[in-house]
Every structure is written in structure tokens, then in C-alpha cells.
Subunit: 588 residues, 2 copies
């Protein structure tokens, strides 16, 4: 049975080792182009350093395999399997508590703009991790990642080829984001979705600048947090790189970090066995933080995360060829310019999330969807909702999407849940559940609510927790199914009161077939918001609907002290003016 | 202890006698200008006729006092006390089950347009009823009333000077309304409010045309219903008035009427002891209808009743000098033209009920209010809400108001309830209860709800049932008390779920101090309606608010099949057009 790192961390902190590179620099003249070749050429030297860390009290020793990957080793004369196997064996030979396979970045850009595609990256990581698993590592530490795309590729690879626990650790810049712009919440949301067993921060700036990021990681994560700071910032001194934080200073920070709730502690560049030893001594008896399950529902792009239900969030509905002939024509010509225009316009008009539906019978939906998601993701920071009736399209898009998307949609039919839930589980996506099933759309709120319950229960059987489910209470038209308008509202109220899930409605369906649709739409929207609608799907360029949301936010306290409201309308004194005009007309 | 007619009617029907006049016509040449003088001049003749009815099975014998009143007897040489006393004694001498004092109309118009003021009318009726009570009548039958004003005056007089049970019976025209326009529901709502022990229909057209009116009386009344038809319609035949319905036909109708639920049966013009005897024989063993308490809350003018909570009803707020300088100036000049203009405008714009507030420190509020209520009542058929901080003003207005008004307002303060509830109980008014008390306006919904409960409980201790209470959940401004917006909405939801009372809000308070007030007002209105607001107080000329109500009615099923909605906007295709324009602008 693989190591259960979460269980161990309920009872004690775990300590990692410190830097390998810094100690090697002191022991040999030049390290050479492939530092990990030392695993083969000087195994005793490598083991000596590992042993120093074991003696210092480290429980987890990282194999000397940080730079080992197929991309870097191309034309080096070494194979990944060769160096990984040797690296892991050098640790295992010393019999530490746990041997970790160390996995670093490939050293190149990934994705459409880089030299390595997402799938190629996954394959590179699979090669490393398969080798490490085979060589007998107890866990995998993916670290010093600067790009959430690459971290995802590595984690997906690990989950595909190994059952070992995986810690994924990223580095952050001064602006508290990774090099490619992900903030701590976004990292947590994406990596937890993909099944990371612990999440870390390493290298980066010194421990002081890490503190606010660690606070966020602990606040949002339902898994343990690993922290491995450098010994401060590097300086050149007498031709050598030295670090500016002393052992005592480092220890003081690590005490603080342990008290914040980090459970796996170690050191990165510049740290030595002395740092680890002193730090362990100062922290090992501190009260142990217990990781709690965080129940929020959040959707992420690579750079932005929205916690649903904390405010009203608008899903822009406009990227959908069914209702847009211009979009339809452009897609048939393989053109994405209309899609990108709609994306930027909706973002500008106030959409928080963009639904992307390219369902046309006569196009290559899979290819167009991947390209559209990729293009839109680079253009706007809104998280996406992937809207397709084809599970293959959904899976292909989710695999490389550098965020945590919403799948639109699953419903209560067995076949739908069987097709969608495995994909959602694998890629950590949110799922929008429609309250309908084999029997159609129930008239009564109680029956729609029951389907919501069935969807959530079935999702749980696939390992998808309730917090990954949104529920659409379904809007029928007032003209054809008037009695069911109340049922939709009641369904929202029941969902809010009894399940607490974020709720979704395609609001403007309500008015189909009636005149003055804006009036019905805005009135129904206000009612639905009051009843608990958190996430309307709508056209953000509909001014009356957006005004209604602005007003609702002021009335419901989402807009504290009505500041956004007052700003939005401070110049539109037409409201008051019209009222005064009417009073004058009445002779008042 | 006075007779408990309701208790008796739980166990058996009661039978009244038939016509007196028709039998007298057959026995003496000319009856003379004061028919009731026969009580003194020919008591044996009168007693002979009473005895015939007793022999026919009548339980209740009406004294021969229909035309006895101070207005008619002026200069006649007789006093009311003289003729009433003789009339009652003539019945009592025969020892029937029950002796009823018969009270007919004064025979002239009452009120500002008539020869007799409302208070004078009350005094005339007090004189009759005092005399009848003193002479030993068991109950009072006020009958053949054509004007709800006069029926009210008589009933108020009866309750003021006597503890005897009172039956109030009116006559109806072919259009199912009384001569002055009151329908059966309105009559029930007003007379029950004033404490009538039973309500009747008599004389009128023949029994056939009475059937739909009886159905309404039974459906709405929480007191027993009395029915006394004529023997059909009168015709002249050989110089004599004859009636066109035979005893058998009359009996058939009365069987039907008994089966509909009427519990006190008798005959009016043209009926004879033979009619009563046969009718009693045919109906006395029919299954006895049990009167049930009807729980609806209804507000009435003399010609229109609105059952609150069955739809959205708008209380027009515009007759209020605080917010209207033109009105203020006109009132200071003793002018009511602005009041009447505001009344007709608000009615035209869709108000169902009109609030009348003339609270100005420097006018004679009592006099102006009486005049305004009187004038407005003749001009528009909307029921009124009497809005004054002075209980004396409220009492004076309610006394003569020919409807069942709403008192605006009581609150949870002991002093407020002690001042208002006795007035409401006496005149059968509805009361609008504000959810505030000695501690101010509570922040939390639970506390406002508790005050509503206290108001209802205290009202019950004054003999005012819950159905006479409306509750105002109180709107504070979003700008100053943002957190309490939710509490107002929650209060509405709690009131709907747990008390089921009609709810009131002064909606536009919400936006005070913020720009674009219409937007906040209409959004808040939609939310409040969804949460259960039944009776908004608002300006019916506010187009956006009225549109919101039209839309809500379509969405909530009050507007069946959205017919009113579709009609209201069938020509305003601007809604769709604007949307299309926006789509074009987006390049869609
Ligand atoms: Zn480092
Ligand atoms: Zn009659
Ligand atoms: Zn609600």
C-alpha cells in the first residue's frame, strides 16, 4: 500500500532535507553539464550529503534528480531511467524514513507558444515518474514549478503512472504569484482538483516574503502544506554564491511558518544540514496544525479564481453559435475572431466566467474547442465553462486547460453521469448538474431538488465531493409553463437552505415567446437572486439585467456600503430627475 | 343574558314570519299615513296576524314597527317610544319563541348629500332600538336596507345602546348590488366588521334572482345568513297588488336556499302564513348547514371589496403632504382639489387602495380628513387607508366611512395598541401593524416577527381576529442600514410561512440617499414580492415599479396565461428591438 502522507501528518510534522547543490559546490571543483550524472560517477559523494541530512533529522530525502528529464538529457548520453534509478537507489541505500523522487521543471516553455506541447510534457514526466516508482521511491516531490501548466502536466503524469503520493510545490515572485501569474488560491484550487496529496512553496524569495503566500495556502488548502524556503536571497561573495539569512533567522521564520500550519518543512537553496537540524529542534514540539476540509466551490483560470456563492457571479452565455449566426458562419470557416471578440466584450461588460459552446454539426468541434479555449485563456483571465454535448471534447479540453473549469453539463440520467463524472474526477473540474433525468424536467421543486441530491450522491461515488457541484434549477418559459416559474424559484430556495450549493439559471429563457422580454428577465432575475441564485448564465451586455445585479448587490450587502452602486450611477441622475419630472407632471 | 342566536342556529333553523302589510290590506279599508299607529288603535288586529304566523310555525315574530322612526314620525303626533313599545308588546303578549324589534330605513338619504347626517341617523336608530330593548324585544332585525351607510348607522346605534343580537338585512337590485351599489361580499365584510350577528337579504326581487347573491353571502360570511324573499314580483290585479309566485314555487326556492346554507328563513312582501307553514314543513328536516369562520382579509369601500393576499394590491401613497408641497399648500387653504386629483390619478394608474394622510400641524386635520374621505369615496371606488397619528381623527373618520378601511397604523408599543385597537374593534376596521415597539425597529427579522406576533395576540385580546391585521415589515434605507435590507425580506418570508397575514412595505424608502432610485426600488420590489409582499405602498405613477408588478404577476401565476402581461406590452416591441440592436452592435 502506498504511503499515506496525510495520515502521518495528522500525528507529526515531516522534515525534508536542504540544498544539495550548495554542499556539492564545497566538495568538488566543477559539477558539469549534467549534475545528476554524479549519481552514477560519484555515488559516495551524493550519499555522503544525503547522510548529513538524515543525521540532521530529515525524514524525507530527495533524490538527486531535479534536472533529470528527457528534454534536458537529449543528446547528453544519459537516459532518464539510468539517472533516476541511480538517484533513488543512492537515497534508499541509506535507509531514510522516506525516499522522495525529486522532479523539477523541464526547463522550457510548455504549450502552444513553447517548444514542448502539453501532451509531450506529460510524456516526459511519465518517463521520470515511472522510473522513480520502479526504483522504489516512497513519494514524488514535484518542485520549483513556475508555471501551473507544467505543474499540471507533471501531476497528471504522476497520477497516470504511479500510485505514490505526490507533493507539488511552486515558486512565487515578489507579487505573490508564480512566474506565469497564478496566485496561491488558484494553485490550491487546480492542484487539489487533480489530486495533489500536499501542496508546497519552495525556493522563491526568502522565507519572509513567503509568509503571506503560506497564509493563503493554509487558508484554502484541504491538503497539507509543504514549505522549503531558500536561506534568503543569493549574493556573490568571493566568487561564491552565499545566502543572506543566518541559521537563527531561518529558524525563527520556520517557527512562525510551522505555527501558521505548514506541516512539511525543509530548506531550499543555501540551506545546509545545520539549518535543518536547528529548525527541526525549534519546531518539532510545536502544537500540530490539523488540516481541515475547506468546503468552498471555486472555478479557476490559470491566473484568477472565483469562489462561487460569496457574491453574484455572471457566466457569459454569448459564445454559442445556436443564437448567433455570425459566430456560426465564422466557425464554419475555421475562424476564431468572433469568439475572441465575444470573449473580450463579455469580460469588459462584467462577465466573471465565460461559457464556451461551439456545438455545430459541421465543424471539428474537438479541434476548434481546444483552439478556442487556448486562445480565449490567453486573452482574458475569466475562468471558463466548457459547454459541449460530447464527452470526448470535454475531456480533451479539460486535460490541457490550465485552470479548474466548469463542465456544462451533467444531468440526473445514469448515462450522463457515467459519461461525465469520470472526466470531472480525473481533471478536477467542477460540474454543472441540471435538475432533470430520464423522466424529463420535473414540474415540482421537490422533484428537481431530489435530482440535485441524486447528482451529488452519485458524484461522491466517483470521488467528486459536493463542493465540486453546481446545480441548475432550470428555467422554463412563463408563456408555456407558467406554474413552473414558482417551482424554479422554490428549487433555488430549497437548494440554498438544504444543500448550500452554488446555483445556476439560464435566466432569459423565462421570457421566450412574450413581448418586452427585458422586463420579465430583469424581474425574474431579481426574484431568483433573492431566492438564492448565485451564478446566473446571461448576456452581460444586457444593461437592465446588469443594473439589476448591481442593485441586488447593494441591497443584499455584497456591495458594502453601496459603494459600487453609488459609483456606477453617480452621474446618471436621470433616476431622480425622472421622478421629479413625474411629480411636476402630477402638479406636485 | 342576551339571546345567542349563533348557538341556536348550530342546532336548528329559525323561521321568521311573512308579510304584515298584505294581510292588513285584506282586513281594513285604508291603513293611514302611520301604519304602525294600528299598534295602539287596533292591537287585536295586529295580534291576530302575529298569531297566524305563530300558528304557521314562525319562531321569530317581527314587531309592527318597520316605519317607526323619528324622521318619519316628525309632526305625526306619535312618538317613537309610544309605537315601538306598543308594537313589541303586541308580539310579546302572544308569547312567541322570539320577539324581534323590526327596524326599517329612515326613508331619506343619509350623509353629506342627504337631509340627515350620519350622526343624526345614528341618533334616530338609537331612539328606536332603545325603546325596543326596553319594551322587551329578544333581538333586533334591521331590514330592507338599500344603503350600506344607513345599515351601518343602524348597526352602530344598536351596538351602542343594546346588547341584543342584531340581524342586518339588505335588499338587492337585478345587478346583484344594493341600490347604492354594494355587492354581497362588501356587505358581509362591512357588517361583520361592525358586529352583525347575522346578515340577511330580504324583499328585493323574487327568490330566483336572490340565488346567486345568497351563494355569495354564504360563501363569505362567518355569521348565519337570513333570507326573506317576496312572493315574487308585484303586479296590480283588480286594483290590488298581487305577487306572482305560488306557495309551491316559493317552497321549492326556499328548499334550494336552505340547502345553500341560509339558516333563518322567512317571507317578505306578498307572503302569508300559508307560505311560511309550507316552507317550514319542506325545509325543517334538511341537513343543517354549519357556519364556518372565513379567514380572508378584505378591505372595502361601499362598492368594492379587495381580498388581500389573493393577488398583488397596490396602496397608493401619494395623498401625503409631507412629500408634496402643492398638496400641502392647497390643504392650508382648505382646498381638496389636489386631493381629489391625486385620488383619480392614482386610481387611473392602477392603485387598488388609497392611503389618505393629511397630517399637517397647522390645519384642522379632523375636519379636513372627514371631508377628504367623504369626497374621495364618492369619486373613486378604491377602499381607503386612513393614515393619521391622531386616534381621534381615525375614529371620527371610521365612524361614518361607508366601508371597511385600513388604519395606518398601530405598532407594538403598548400605548399605540391601547389607543388604536378599541377603535378598530368598534368600527370593524383592518389595522396595519408596524413591526416596531418601545425598543425601536429591531434589526433582526426574528425580532420584527415577534412584534408582529405580539400585535396579533394583543389584537385578539380586544376581540379583533388575526384576519383584520396586516403587517408592515418596515423598509430601512440601503444606504444607512444595508444589513437590514435582508432582514426586511426575511421578515416577509417568515410572515408568509408562519402567519399568512397580508404584508405591506413602503417600498421606495429603500433607495433614499442613493442615485438612480428607480433601479433600487424596482429591484427591491421584485425581491420583496418573491418573498411574499402582498400589498406594496407605492406611487402607482412610477412606471418601472408598475411594470415590475405586471411582470411579477405573469411570473407568479396571478396573471393566468400571462394575458394581462401580453396585452400590456403587445405594442411595446421596444424590448425585443433593443435586444436585437444590442446583438447587432456585438456583430451577432
Ligand atoms: Zn531554491
Ligand atoms: Zn318586501
Ligand atoms: Zn424568497
Amino acid at each position: 500500500m502506498p504511503l499515506n502522507i496525510k495520515e502521518i501528518l495528522k500525528k507529526k510534522r515531516l522534515y525534508l532535507d536542504g540544498a544539495m547543490g550548495s554542499l556539492l559546490q564545497n566538495r568538488i571543483e566543477t559539477i558539469g553539464p549534467v549534475p545528476e550524472a554524479l549519481n552514477l560517477s560519484q555515488p559516495e559523494l551524493i550519499k555522503e550529503i544525503h547522510q548529513l541530512y538524515i543525521d540532521a533529522g530529515a525524514n524525507i530525502i530527495l533524490s538527486n534528480t531535479f534536472g533529470v528529464n528527457g528534454y534536458k538529457l537529449k543528446d547528453s548520453g544519459y537516459t532518464v531511467e539510468q539517472l533516476v534509478t541511480a538517484g533513488v537507489k543512492n537515497v534508499k541505500a541509506l535507509n531514510p524514513d522516506y525516499t522522495a523522487l525529486d522532479v523539477g521543471p523541464l526547463g522550457t516553455l510548455i504549450g502552444a507558444l513553447g517548444e514542448v506541447t502539453f501532451d509531450e510534457a506529460v510524456d516526459y514526466f511519465k518517463e521520470i515518474i515511472s522510473a522513480g516508482d520502479k526504483a522504489g521511491a516512497d513519494l514524488i516531490v514535484i518542485e520549483t514549478m513556475t508555471d501551473i501548466c507544467e505543474a499540471r502536466a507533471a501531476l497528471i503524469a504522476a497520477k497516470a503512472v504511479s500510485e505514490l503520493p505526490v507533493i507539488v510545490s511552486m515558486t512565487y515572485e515578489e507579487n505573490k504569484r508564480t512566474l506565469t501569474g497564478s496566485d496561491a488560491l488558484t494553485v490550491v484550487n487546480i492542484l487539489e482538483g487533480l489530486g495533489a496529496d500536499a501542496i508546497g512553496i519552495n525556493c522563491s524569495t526568502g522565507p519572509d516574503a513567503m509568509l503571506p503566500i503560506i497564509a493563503e495556502l493554509v487558508r484554502y488548502a484541504s491538503v497539507p502544506i509543504m514549505v522549503e524556503p531558500n536561506a534568503g536571497l543569493p549574493h556573490m561573495k568571493g566568487g561564491k554564491t552565499v545566502y543572506d539569512i543566518t541559521i537563527d533567522q531561518f529558524t525563527d521564520y520556520m517557527v512562525q511558518i510551522a505555527e501558521m500550519g505548514a506541516l512539511i518543512l525543509g530548506g531550499c537553496c543555501g540551506t545546509t544540514p545545520a539549518y535543518i537540524e536547528k529548525m527541526k529542534g525549534a519546531t518539532k514540539d510545536l502544537l500540530l496544525y490539523q488540516v481541515t476540509e475547506k468546503a468552498f466551490t471555486a472555478v479557476s483560470s490559470s491566473t484568477k479564481t472565483i469562489i462561487l456563492g460569496t457574491d453574484i457571479h455572471i457566466i457569459g452565455e454569448c459564445i454559442n453559435p445556436t443564437t448567433n449566426p455570425v459566430l456560426k458562419a465564422s466557425l464554419r470557416q475555421g475562424e476564431l475572431s468572433v469568439v475572441t471578440q465575444l470573449a473580450t466584450d463579455q469580460k469588459k461588460d462584467g462577465a466573471h466566467i465565460l461559457d464556451i459552446n461551439l456545438g455545430l454539426p459541421d465543424i471539428d468541434e474537438l479541434m476548434m474547442m481546444q483552439e478556442a479555449v487556448d486562445t480565449v485563456s490567453r486573452l482574458v483571465d475569466c475562468p471558463l465553462q466548457i459547454d459541449s454535448s460530447n464527452p470526448e471534447v470535454i475531456e480533451a479540453v479539460l486535460r490541457s486547460y490550465p485552470g479548474k473549469a466548469i463542465i456544462n453539463s451533467v444531468n440526473g440520467k445514469k448515462s450522463s453521469m457515467a459519461a461525465i463524472f469520470p472526466i470531472a474526477q480525473k481533471y478536477g473540474a467542477l460540474v454543472l448538474g441540471l435538475t432533470m433525468d430520464e423522466t424529463g424536467i420535473p414540474s415540482l421543486a421537490a422533484d428537481r431538488f431530489a435530482i440535485a441530491g441524486k447528482i451529488i450522491k452519485t458524484a461522491e461515488s466517483y470521488g467528486i465531493s459536493k463542493k465540486n457541484i453546481l446545480i441548475d434549477a432550470l428555467v422554463l418559459t412563463a408563456s408555456a409553463q407558467q406554474a413552473e416559474v414558482r417551482e424554479t424559484i422554490k428549487t433555488l430556495e430549497k437548494l440554498r437552505a438544504e444543500l448550500g450549493v452554488p446555483t445556476v439559471l439560464g435566466v432569459s429563457n423565462i421570457s421566450f415567446g412574450l413581448p418586452n422580454r427585458e422586463l420579465l428577465n430583469r424581474t425574474f432575475l431579481a426574484m431568483a437572486l433573492e431566492a438564492g441564485l448565485t451564478t446566473p448564465i446571461m448576456n452581460p451586455s444586457d444593461r437592465e439585467m446588469m443594473d439589476t445585479i448591481t442593485a441586488f448587490r447593494a441591497l443584499w450587502g455584497f456591495d458594502g456600503q453601496c459603494i459600487a452602486y453609488a459609483n456606477a450611477y453617480k452621474d446618471s441622475s436621470f433616476g431622480q430627475a425622472k421622478s421629479d419630472l413625474e411629480r411636476t407632471a402630477l402638479g406636485l
